[in-house]
Subunit: 415 residues, 2 copies
Amino acid sequence: MLAEIITIGDEILIGQIVDTNSAWMAKQLNAAGIKVKQITSVSDDADHIIAALGQAEQRAKIILITGGLGPTKDDITKYTLAKYFNMGMRRDAGVLAQVEEIFRRFNRPMIESNIRQADVPDGCTVIPNKNGTAPCMWFERDGTIFVSMPGVPFEMMYLMDEEILPKLKQAFELPFIYHKTILTANLGESFLAQQIEEIEDSLPVSIKLAYLPKLGQVRLRLSTSGTNEAQLKEEVEVYAQRIIEKIKPYIVAEDDIAIEKAILDLMDKKGLTLSTAESCTGGFIAQLITQHPGCSSVYAGGAVVYSYELKQSVLGVKAETLEKYGAVSEQTVKEMASGAITHFNTDYSVAVSGIAGPDGGTVDKPVGTVWIAVANRNGVVAKLFTFGSKRAQNIERSAIAALTMILNLLKEDNN
Amino acid sequence: MLAEIITIGDEILIGQIVDTNSAWMAKQLNAAGIKVKQITSVSDDADHIIAALGQAEQRAKIILITGGLGPTKDDITKYTLAKYFNMGMRRDAGVLAQVEEIFRRFNRPMIESNIRQADVPDGCTVIPNKNGTAPCMWFERDGTIFVSMPGVPFEMMYLMDEEILPKLKQAFELPFIYHKTILTANLGESFLAQQIEEIEDSLPVSIKLAYLPKLGQVRLRLSTSGTNEAQLKEEVEVYAQRIIEKIKPYIVAEDDIAIEKAILDLMDKKGLTLSTAESCTGGFIAQLITQHPGCSSVYAGGAVVYSYELKQSVLGVKAETLEKYGAVSEQTVKEMASGAITHFNTDYSVAVSGIAGPDGGTVDKPVGTVWIAVANRNGVVAKLFTFGSKRAQNIERSAIAALTMILNLLKEDNN
């Protein structure tokens, strides 16, 4: 079963927002056995929306549309859908009651544009949107289903989870799609490929292998689809295990999880605790860790120490160390990591100090110079990295390098 | 001048990665006076790529393609482009030298798949990629330009900045596109629209107004395009100033910047300093702040205090407060904010303590219960929020609410 996603909104096409909805929807659809054929982003322009709908209808049986349902004049999705399906508009009593209820709850007066939120094409089925005033609309034509949802992520997510996916599962007999992902670190894509070439060449045509490189990590993804769930999993697992056996030293996780989640799982199992001491990554590592539910069993917390003052008062870095070697130095980053162990009383810690840029570089320490240290109760090791000139990338690459160093130390301590 | 972006890769269509490249590219293209008509994501499938290229060629004069250029077997973009343009393949000596140089630099042996990176369609112009082994390829046919770039963000960004955008500006006479964005907070989209209805109705057809709501904030964007840069700016600015005058209490920034950047700018101007004390947001606020270059003049740092122990040792929260009222309480969050002022020695601070979920909720304090406090040297105020059930959204909404509270306090203190 093929689906397409159409996201509507000028804000996407001028790059003002990143379309995160599509990836989330694609993931859910895949899990339900629906393959996404294409994702298309178009502007708030009726002719363009109609053209995109027409092309999508030729390729797929399910067309999910987000965006363009706000109360303001630039939002034209529902009027365009009415035109596409040659329908008139009607005022839906259920939606109106829902809009009125939301305004009552927030104790706000309703205005004409809020009332117009209840207008829908007269041939659609309205799906109640509990979290907002824009209605969700379901259309069917010649066996193809079209669903128009608001672009506000949490409204769309709730509608997908609670309403759209269950209805799609009912409407179609869906195959089972299975992905097995293996996360690796410390070896480049082409070297991984060389190491597992024989296994890759022996894969049956029904199993596809993809390499997904990102910031010093490569994810290997085996994909297949069919009707017998257990058999598909078993078949993929045989090849997955062969690959894992072959490249064991580079395996971070045998699952589609992030490296920090692999660290949390490993430490949780062993009852170990972790803290962070960040300068140039500015809390980026902490927020990567704390996005995972249940992280508090491992992660005690940490500090973001931008100023010299905080490096000393919060982590106990010595004034003479900062003076003699500077904030971006092996000595400072080691004292930061050791300080985290002592001050935050954890088994492991990681510390990062670098020049994220774009300013602050010198001849000796250009932008992209980053020192990272990891510590346990027995000692501390540090490593120098030289990244590039872009701030966001330096922060992200530093974070991934820091997490890789923690994982490597944990593995060493485990042996 | 119209452009289209085509991103190639199964990982996008199964939702394994979020396509952040397209938004970045769209922003750069817009700034150069090139409008993006459509963004299309397709799978690593030759027929589908060819169909997408054909449709894009009918709509736009510039077609930018990313992805599918890795050394592994699933990457087929360049072979598909050769097919699309009816070209053979040739081994490019320049690319080969560049690949060899990269492998020498990292002291790694080259294998066959690395050498194949130097194969390109024989009718394209190769643009050197200094940051990776995948070549960038430029094609021209009947006045339309096609550029194929690697999907690795920093490789693509460098190529766009240094090579592609300058070449496009040379190839076409480009109009000037002007966007003016106003960031507002604390008032819903429809109420904003009502307040500025008269101004909106008086806009000339050449100026378009869009409402972009996100997490308690609404961005208003006025857009226009033409040839006379100064005149366009002046014309838009007249309407922008009318809007700003009309909704003054809700204005966060008169620019397309994030709320934390507006805070940093305001505090920097006044020589004020800021610290953070985060529990449930886990460093999210810190990393929002520290993504901005130059933030260190205002932001001293902060703490991520997940455990009770760290709340006490790092911020001086009293044990009896935690015991009597719990971590998620007005009393605790106020002590966190006051503690940050004292311990981190800053003029302002913000503290957040809540239940991000999905677990940890109780009848009294369900998931989504969040206390936020802001403090200055004279005192502290706290506010209770009740968000939803999703962890990522609770973290993000808490952060935006916290930043809005800082901004409001700064404005109050300013009066």
